[in-house]
């Protein structure tokens, strides 16, 4: 397949759709930005795509809780087609608000017999924050993180603290190799390394197949060297490290 088709799904309040489409384009994908209402009217549209990405923003204002209303739209109307999408070997990516949507929609395999066992809640600071963080990828389960080790990316969120209902749930997800991206002290990063109090320093996680991935940091905001916060101090030119994540998604279909 030459250029995998990428569905960038926007809802009212989504606001990172343009730069996310740009990142996929740079990576060799063929992105379309589509309003959630179109998919609700015709869920089978999703079958035309290889990758579905829910970008960052404040879907439905993050009213009630971040990503909650969008996630319920999925649970009520799109669960089936998206499970089929996953079973067909395709990829789902949620960035920031998209991660909040994915985790609350059940698509990251976090639910157990008593309901949702993991979530993203208010930062320990109680406040929105925009800063860059160091990250380490763990294991080789996640398609999007293939070949990656350390990363440096921006976060911009208020409700990004990863929590599980109890220690057993955390242990189960860890054992299953799903906790694939952690905040970490990497070269150039500035303390505090865990910016929001996330359990186990979790910054991103995947489902049991490794093909559904959600992360709080914004890889689409580091696809060019001029986006780095101290690029004027570095000799490095060319593309930004976040682009590799989009390349991995595109390469998966080549």
């Amino acid at each position: 397949m030459a250029q995998p088709r990428i569905l960038i799904l926007r809802a009212p309040g989504t606001n990172c759709d343009v730069e996310t489409a740009h990142a996929f384009q740079l990576a060799g994908g063929q992105p379309d930005v589509l309003h959630l209402n179109r998919l609700l009217e015709a869920p089978q549209l999703v079958a035309e795509y290889q990758v579905l990405c829910i970008p960052g923003g404040f879907s439905y204002g993050d009213d009630i809780a971040a990503g909650r209303i969008f996630a319920n739209e999925i649970r009520h109307h799109l669960s089936e087609v998206l499970q089929e999408f996953r079973t067909a070997g395709k990829l789902l990516l949620g960035i920031c608000n998209g991660f909040q949507v994915l985790i609350k929609s059940g698509l990251l395999d976090t639910d157990d017999e008593t309901g949702p066992a993991a979530s993203l809640t208010w930062n320990d600071s109680g406040c929105f924050m925009d800063r860059w963080v160091g990250l380490k990828a763990a294991g080789d389960k996640c398609v999007f993180l293939s070949g990656m080790n350390e990363l440096y990316l921006p976060i911009a969120h208020a409700e990004g603290k990863f929590v599980t209902r109890d220690a057993a749930a955390l242990e189960r997800l860890d054992q299953a190799g799903q906790l694939v991206l952690r905040y970490a002290d990497v070269e150039g990063s500035i303390p505090p390394f865990n910016p929001n109090g996330a359990m186990h320093d979790v910054a991103g996680m995947c489902d049991t197949t490794g093909r559904v991935f959600g992360l709080m940091p914004h890889p689409e905001r580091f696809v060019d060297f001029t986006q780095h916060p101290s690029w004027t101090r570095r000799e490095v030119r060319g593309e930004g490290a976040g682009l590799a994540l989009f390349r991995n998604a595109v390469r998966y279909f080549n």
Binding site: G13, C16, E19, H22, G61, N72, K104, G126, T232
Partner: protein, 979 residues
């Protein structure tokens, strides 16, 4: 029935809201050891919702079961008032519940309604509330907590104990009744009483003109006609003072202005444009909602800065929220619609540590104002997905009653979409939010002086925004713009439909069907619909043939679009409610009928008093630390990090830079088009302290500062556009207006000399607060004359940008620009409480050459880092460059280019002379750098060092006048606002 669903944090989770309230209660001295528990609640009114359904909503919609639990019951059930376990330690806690007043925008409730329907359940209304169980507080303390921390009376109410109702209020039906106002027979006193009590805030000559107009028609005006005139002629909408006749006298004589702004600021732009001829890069200036200049072959760029002062004084969160929302709509409503790409925000507050007992009645605590304003901007800007990339904060006691909130927005617009023209017989279409009772009289209110009674008098002027509604509108508008479905667009700002339709239909005429406007709740009168300032509404002019397509595209994204009238080619504004004509006015009366305001302005120069430098010990390190720790200079990281400054992916130079990403950048750079390397540079200049000495030089300095900030990061000085925002006191006082006229003259002179055109501007007058003091006498606090200059620069290749943090250990440090004895209004004067001194001036010929030379040097890559010198002069700039880069420096101040050789160390270090930069240059680039700068004052004044100290001496061999570790300098700078 009315269900209540309360959400509590699980016992092993932090109760962040309760902790916040306890902290604020301690901080404000009410009670240092309160025990607080908090919950949030949803009131759900439904005919048919049963208990299992309500429980399902709690489980699957309202609570996050990993961290929260819920209580579900019908309102009135005692379980809802029961304190969470563990609260109270035996003592029974008091329950305080905070609700928005009926009619106040509640976006969360709106979203919740939709989400409940998505479950297939019926729901008629939702309201949100916040609940607090507080123990350890006396009844008086509870009242203080309620008033000063929990609720703002302008929009919220507090209930102690259980809720006293079991159904939600929904406005009552409206019965049409045409109301007229009797003007005939009123004398001058009667006219002015009507103007004041009706919140028209019209002046006597205007009331007389209206009286005569209707006398000639042989009838009385209807209420809506009078309101329309008041809105259209308000200071806020018409700028009648500054665009009016002014007799200005100063030492050199009297000058008569027919239109002061036109003859000063606009005139400079007009002259520049004709000078440039075919190279003119202005596109649309001083006429649309924002000024427009050229960017590249595909896009132009629009820029507007607005103030939202009065609402922010009463309700800081809502005021700032709607301030940023409003200026974004200005950009969206420019030309055929621009796409917002970044925000800039500048605030002026009283010092946050002002003691509570020094606050006059009716004034909110400045710290509360500051927190509210910052959160208001944060929540709107972030939700809109527009990065907030630039700003400034000024502190002065005189902003106590009138904090200033300047919100700016930059947008890009396709070259062929930069102009609009409504056509006769086009439909008038309202797009976006519904109309409610919010913001009635905002335009006239903002033209009035605030008093301690303003809160109760004008509570209706306060609005809360709904950013996601505006985002939806923006998304769909850009789509229908590109399909050419409308002929003109404008925003509903101050004055609501009345000013939007009035402006668009000025050349044609309009007929409006007020009963068709969608309303939030029943009961609105035709006049309320017409002048409501409910947010998130745009007005479009739509050819009838395009209506169906436009309507269905809006509907597809959940955006309401409604035909509310047509642009009928009658030259009249006809307002109808059903079949009733409720207003019928000539457009000519609205736009040309206002009697000219004639004001006098006076200025007399006062001889400069010498400033006496305190006899110092020779070591000025303590002075530097104190200036770094003053509120104006101190780090604003607490604010900056709450704003998303990277969304849209175009961020190139961020507001915080350096090795630990905490140094203060001079300007922001963004790439609005991700496939291009061309960038926009956004900066500002503001220094009200200079205005106390001379408003001309304050304005000149602010312009120089805005431009040099832009140039410092790499902007090309031949393409910098400026905006002016005047916030002044009561301009009926001739000396207050005199200082404004003088500032406008400086804008004219500097704009011409530096070839930097003004492209748009705004003024906010009457920023005075009056109250009755302890002695029973009326007292007035006027703000200092405050001119904000915003600059919009451009950079051909963002990869040539530089930042202010030192980069290398053995570079040369060059000071570019001449240092003069100009400590008047400086921060050195501030910390020592010194009066007098010369205010910084601008030598425009040298400034123009300096900016050009600096740009040459920067764009050739000769400058490793560059910082402008402003508050605190050389010493502060050097300290900031050092600690931002984590690199030390040695500087000899005897080497500075100076006006007079005999200049004390303190003056050399802290003078705030304009047009100066401190540059780091690698030794191998020094020779070429010096050649580039040969035509302007410059000197090598020191070196960067591998250690972590800043050492400043007179000469190499003399004892240091400043010696400090970078860690100490940074700590002093970060401490004041590390909240």
């Amino acid at each position: 029935m009315l269900w209540e669903i309360d959400i509590h944090p699980l016992s092993d989770q932090p109760d962040q809201e309760a902790e916040r309230i306890a902290l604020l209660a301690a901080e404000s001295g009410i009670n240092p050891s309160l025990s607080v528990r908090a919950a949030r609640g949803f009131l759900v009114e439904s005919e048919s919702l049963d208990e299992s359904q309500a429980n399902r909503l709690a489980e699957e919609l309202f609570a996050d079961n990993t961290v929260e639990s819920s209580v579900v019951a019908k309102v009135g059930d005692s379980r809802l008032a029961t304190a969470p376990t563990g609260q109270g330690n035996g003592e029974s806690p008091s329950l305080l519940q905070v609700l928005l007043k009926p009619g106040v925008m509640d976006p969360v409730a709106q979203s919740a309604e939709g989400a409940i329907r998505d479950f297939g359940y019926s729901v008629s209304a939702v309201r949100t509330l916040r609940k607090y169980w507080i123990s350890g507080a006396s009844q008086d303390q509870l009242a203080s907590i309620s008033e000063r921390i929990l609720a703002n009376d302008a929009i919220e109410q507090t209930v102690e104990g259980p809720l006293p109702f079991n159904q939600l209020q929904h406005g009552s039906d409206y019965e049409f009744e045409l109301r007229t106002v009797t003007l005939s027979g009123l004398d001058d006193v009667g006219l002015m009483q009507l103007s004041r009590e009706g919140q028209l805030y019209l002046q006597l000559a205007e009331m007389q003109t209206i009286q005569q107009y209707f006398a000639e028609l042989g009838r009385e005006p209807t209420d809506i006609e009078l309101e329309t005139l008041a809105q259209t002629w308000s200071e806020h909408c018409s700028h009648k003072t500054l665009a009016g006749r002014i007799a200005a006298s100063d030492d050199s004589g009297v000058r008569q202005f027919e239109n002061m702004l036109k003859e000063t600021i606009f005139a400079a732009t007009t002259e520049l444009r004709s000078l440039w001829g075919k190279d003119d890069w202005c596109v649309s200036v001083f006429k649309d909602n924002a000024g427009i200049v050229k960017f590249d072959g595909d896009f132009n760029v629009a820029f507007k800065v607005e103030t939202h002062n009065h609402p922010s004084a009463l309700e800081p969160y809502g005021g700032a929220n709607t301030g940023i929302g409003g200026v974004i709509r200005d950009t969206i409503g420019t030309g055929m619609g621009a796409k917002p790409v970044c925000n800039t925000d500048v605030f002026c507050f009283a010092p946050p540590d002002t003691p509570a007992d020094e606050l006059p009645s009716g004034v909110l605590n400045p710290k509360r104002v500051m927190r509210g304003v910052v959160s208001g901007v944060r929540d709107y800007g972030n939700r809109m997905g527009i990065p907030t990339v630039n700003g400034a904060v000024c502190f002065d006691e005189r902003y106590l009653g009138n904090p200033l909130v300047y919100c700016g927005n930059v947008g890009i617009i396709p070259v062929d979409k930069s102009f609009k023209e409504p056509q006769p017989d086009d439909l008038i279409v309202s797009v976006g939010g519904r109309t409610g009772r919010d913001g009635i009289h905002g335009a006239t209110f903002s033209s009035a002086e605030l008093t301690h009674e303003s809160e109760s008098l004008s509570g209706g002027a306060v609005q809360i925004g709904n950013a996601v509604e505006e985002k939806k509108v923006l998304d769909v508008l850009l789509d229908i713009r590109d399909r050419d479905l409308f002929t003109a667009i404008t925003d509903c700002g101050a004055g609501g439909f009345s000013s939007a339709v009035g402006e668009m239909g000025e050349e044609i005429g309009a007929e409006v069907w007020l009963d068709r406007a969608p309303v939030k709740y029943a009961g609105l009168t035709y006049t309320e619909i017409w002048i409501s300032e409910a947010q998130e509404r745009m007005v479009l002019s739509v050819p009838p043939a395009n209506w169906d397509e436009l309507h269905s595209l809006c509907a597809a994204e959940g955006v309401e679009a409604t035909v509310i009238g047509k642009f009928a080619p009658t030259g009249r504004l006809v307002l109808k409610y059903g079949d009733n004509v409720v207003g019928d006015l000539a457009m000519d009366l609205l736009h040309n009928g206002r009697p000219p305001v004639i004001r006098s302005a006076s200025y007399s120069s006062t001889p400069t008093k010498p400033l006496k430098i305190p006899t110092a010990s020779g070591d000025l390190t303590a002075d530097l630390l104190q200036i770094l720790g003053s509120y104006n200079v101190a780090s604003k990281e607490w604010i900056i990090r709450q704003y998303d400054h990277e969304v849209q992916g175009g961020s190139v130079v961020k507001p915080l830079v350096g090795v630990e990403q905490d140094g203060p950048s001079d300007a922001a750079i963004v790439r609005p088009v991700l496939t291009s390397r061309r960038g926009l540079v956004i900066s500002c200049g503001i220094n009200p302290r200079y205005g106390d000495l001379d408003s001309y030089h304050m304005a000149a300095s602010a312009i120089d500062e805005a431009i040099r900030n832009c140039v410092a990061v790499g902007a090309d000085p031949v393409r910098i556009a400026l905006l002016d925002n005047f916030c002044w006191g009561d301009c009926e006082k001739s000396e207050t207006l005199g200082s404004l006229v003088r500032a406008a003259q400086a804008c004219h002179d500097l704009s011409l000399a530096l070839e930097a055109p003004f492209i748009s501007g705004k003024d906010s007058l009457n920023n005075e607060f009056s109250f009755v003091g302890d002695d029973g006498k009326k007292q007035t606090i006027a703000i200092p004359a405050t001119l904000l200059i915003s600059a919009l620069g451009q950079i051909a290749d963002v990869a040539t940008a530089v930042t202010m943090d030192l980069k290398h250990c053995d570079s040369f440090l060059y000071l570019v620009g001449e240092t003069k004895d100009e400590l008047g209004g400086s921060h050195f004067a501030l910390i020592h409480d010194l009066e007098g001194g010369d205010v910084p001036t601008v030598d425009t010929a040298i400034a123009k050459r300096t900016f050009a030379a600096m740009h040459q040097a920067i764009s050739q890559g000769l400058v490793a880092s560059c910082h402008d010198l402003s508050e605190g002069g050389l010493a502060v700039a050097a300290a900031e460059m050092c600690f931002a880069g984590g690199i030390g420096a040695e500087i000899e101040i005897a080497k500075l280019p100076v006006k007079e050789i005999k200049m004390p160390s303190a003056t050399r270090l802290f003078s705030e002379s304009n047009t100066r930069f401190l540059c780091e240059v690698r030794s191998e680039d020094a020779e070429v750098f010096e050649q580039q700068l040969s035509g302007v004052p410059h000197a090598c004044v020191g070196r960067t060092m591998p250690d972590t100290e800043l050492r400043i001496t007179e000469r190499t061999d003399s004892a240091p006048v400043i010696s400090a570790s970078l860690a100490d300098l940074k700590a002093a700078w970060k401490k004041p606002l590390a909240w």
